[in-house]
């Protein structure tokens, strides 16, 4: 009797030894001695398996970090850092699969289908910590912009993923650096910054531009 796990395992095993997806579900099912419809009870396609694996990684990361003792004391910034570090630590154990899966995606700006589940999980998490951050005034609430914060984090996540795929430093130390520096910069931008103050000042000047006349210069 097949299970989600056994199909995942067999699939990973297949793609890593063959270097490509099976020709058809029929071939795959036959090779694993199960009827084809058994496969469809769990997954609609091979891509669905990959999608599930990626989403599962994110969910496992979230469970792990949220049960850490220090979690409650973390700021939004630290929560994001914690997610990045733990995700890539977990991903290390399936690095070959991750490299295979990412590399076969066509280059482009749209999120590949296999990442949809992961993206949902990530965005829910990002939403949650960003809201917390804005409520605690750790992050700056900006009109229109603060709704896009989570997109910035997602882009960052994609960047780190590709960085990690090409990282050949011992223990992936370079990736640690990329996370530490990158996430910190992103959160620095989310915080109240001189730009906000400049904007405020500009607004003030615009609203009070009549001041010059009322103060009676040049009378």
């Amino acid at each position: 009797m097949a299970t989600t796990e056994s199909i995942q395992k067999a699939y990973i095993n297949y793609v890593l030894t063959e270097g490509q997806q099976p020709k058809s579900v029929y071939v795959f099912a036959k090779k694993n001695k199960m009827p084809e419809d058994e496969f469809y009870r769990y997954f609609g396609s091979f891509d669905a398996i990959e999608q599930f694996i990626w989403a599962d990684l994110a969910n496992r990361t979230l469970t792990e970090i949220k049960t850490q003792e220090v979690w409650g004391q973390y700021s939004a910034r630290e929560k994001a850092l914690s997610f990045f570090y733990s995700f890539f630590e977990l991903l290390k154990s399936s690095r070959s699969f991750a490299v295979y899966s990412v590399k076969k995606q066509p280059k482009g700006f749209t999120t590949p289908a296999i990442f949809t589940g992961l993206k949902t999980a990530f965005e829910n998490f990002a939403d949650e910590i960003l809201k917390e951050g804005i409520e605690s005034t750790e992050l700056s609430d900006r009109k229109f912009l603060s709704k896009r914060y989570k997109d910035a984090l997602w882009v960052q996540f994609g960047f780190v993923l590709h960085f990690w795929i090409n990282d050949n430093s011992a223990g992936f130390e370079k990736t640690d650096e990329a996370i530490e520096k990158g996430v910190n910069v992103t959160f620095d931008l989310f915080q109240r910054s001189p730009i906000d103050n400049l904007f405020e000042y500009g607004k003030f000047l615009a609203q009070n531009s009549g001041l010059k006349e009322t103060m009676g210069f040049g009378n």
Partner: protein
């Protein structure tokens, strides 16, 4: 009141120095932004322009430093050795300015090297660092009722040292108008030491070796190291309670106490130099503590300089008057130390003989009598004055002296400086140099 002036001037220049590096950091960051914004429009652009920009800015800040902070190193270091010295300071200093590691990265580092979080290893672990070490940061922890210091290294420091040196090297050669070959031997020495400092496993082994070897010295304490709680990026040791040198001096200690600490420091260094032939080569005031029971605590054995015999004997024999009275043997020693080179003309030999003899007699002054009073500014004025004079001489534009001078000078002048700050009178005959009065003529 020149004494007070002398003291207050030291911290100021430190602040200025770190400020200098901050601006360099900004400039280098700016160079990257410039590079990437240009690259947006011209994707074929390579990094050579970026590297040149960076090197120019780094070099500029180095040469601005040359005058003030490195005067002491200038002394024996024959101008060109001084550049690597600037790198040493620059790189250790720039790492000082690194922002503290985030909590999640600290946990990640522990998980990577121990498979456990700090909370699982120690009874208590303070996630906020208590102070910065040269290439990492220090956290307070507790295990079985013992207070511990846990040093964590910044990720990627080793890589960045090598790549920064590679980046600046060719450019600096060109700016100085000297050959890469000439300087390379010094640069490699510096790179070697700097990379050793990033190897925490080595540091723990050496710390244990050195603290055992020096265990019998008076008034010196070392923290206990815990190899089982240490790894490539983490060192666990006992937390030493005490005051740093400056805090200690601020309490107006008695002359007797200052002598006691100064003596401990002198014995510690000279025992290592003359008995162990390997020395803690980073006499930075931050690496010492003065404990409540009036002892000198030594932390941080990251930088160790080993002295081979073919350097040790010629150099330290020159500190004895017997050898110095024999001109022929003295020149032989200078040749061994490459202070006089095979191609020098007889006139040059005479010139360098005179100058180096003056220089080394000056350096060896504390060794000549049984005691030496480091509080006297006269000796230091003489040292600085001589350094100044040499740095202006065209004869010293060329690099001279074996590579070992870089760290041995740094160590001894660092030691002299701390003793001067302490205003200590020290018995200098406790661990004397081993000298020989004749040198074998080399086959080559």
């Amino acid at each position: 009141m020149s004494d007070t002036k002398e003291q207050s001037s030291i911290p100021t220049s430190k602040v200025e120095r770190s400020a200098k590096f901050v601006t360099t950091g900004f400039k280098v960051g700016g160079n990257y932004i410039k590079h990437y914004s240009k690259k947006l429009f011209n994707p074929d652009m390579d990094r050579s322009e970026l590297n040149e920009d960076n090197a120019a800015d780094i070099y500029q800040s180095l040469s601005e430093l040359k005058g003030s902070a490195l005067k002491v190193a200038q002394m024996l270091s024959m101008d060109k050795n001084l550049l690597p010295q600037a790198y040493v300071d620059k790189f250790t200093q720039s790492q000082y300015n690194a922002p503290p590691l985030s909590g999640p990265l600290i946990i990640q580092t522990f998980k990577k090297y121990f498979g456990k979080s700090p909370a699982q290893i120690y009874d208590q672990f303070n996630i906020k660092s208590s102070n910065a070490a040269s290439i990492g940061q220090v956290h307070q922890a507790e295990l079985n009722g013992k207070k511990l210091a846990v040093k964590i290294q910044y990720p990627g420091v080793g890589d960045s040292i090598s790549s920064d040196l590679k980046l600046v090297k060719p450019f600096a050669f060109r700016l100085l108008g000297m050959s890469e070959k000439e300087l390379d031997v010094y640069m490699r020495e510096v790179e070697e030491r700097l990379l050793e400092e990033t190897d925490y496993e080595l540091e723990v082994r050496r710390s244990i070796e050195f603290s055992n070897a020096c265990a019998n010295l008076n008034n010196i304490v070392f923290p206990k190291y815990y190899p089982e709680l240490s790894g490539r990026r983490i060192i666990t040791m006992d937390w030493l309670e005490g005051k740093h040198l400056r805090e200690f001096l601020a309490t107006n200690p008695s002359q007797e106490l200052r002598n006691k600490i100064g003596q401990a420091l002198w014995d510690f260094y000279n025992f290592q130099q003359h008995e162990l032939r390997a020395v803690h080569a980073d006499p930075h005031p931050g690496n010492f503590m003065i404990t409540a029971d009036e002892k000198l605590g030594v932390i941080d054995f990251g930088c160790i300089k080993e002295m081979p015999n073919d350097f040790y004997y010629p150099f330290f024999s020159l500190t004895s008057t017997n050898l110095f009275d024999n001109k022929e043997e003295t020149i032989k020693a200078f040749r061994k130390l490459e202070m006089i080179l095979p191609n020098d003309t007889p006139a040059q030999v005479e010139f360098y003989y005179t100058i180096y003899k003056q220089m080394i007699s000056l350096f060896a002054k504390p060794y000549i009598a049984d005691t030496f009073d480091f509080s006297k500014t006269g000796f230091f004025d003489e040292l600085f004055g001589f350094g100044e004079k040499i740095s202006k001489m065209p004869e010293f534009k060329q690099a001279r002296g074996v590579k070992h001078f870089i760290y041995v000078n740094r160590t001894n002048f660092g030691l002299y400086n701390i003793l001067h700050e302490l205003k200590a009178q020290v018995k200098t005959d406790t661990y004397k140099p081993h000298v020989v009065e004749r040198f074998e003529v080399d086959a080559n």
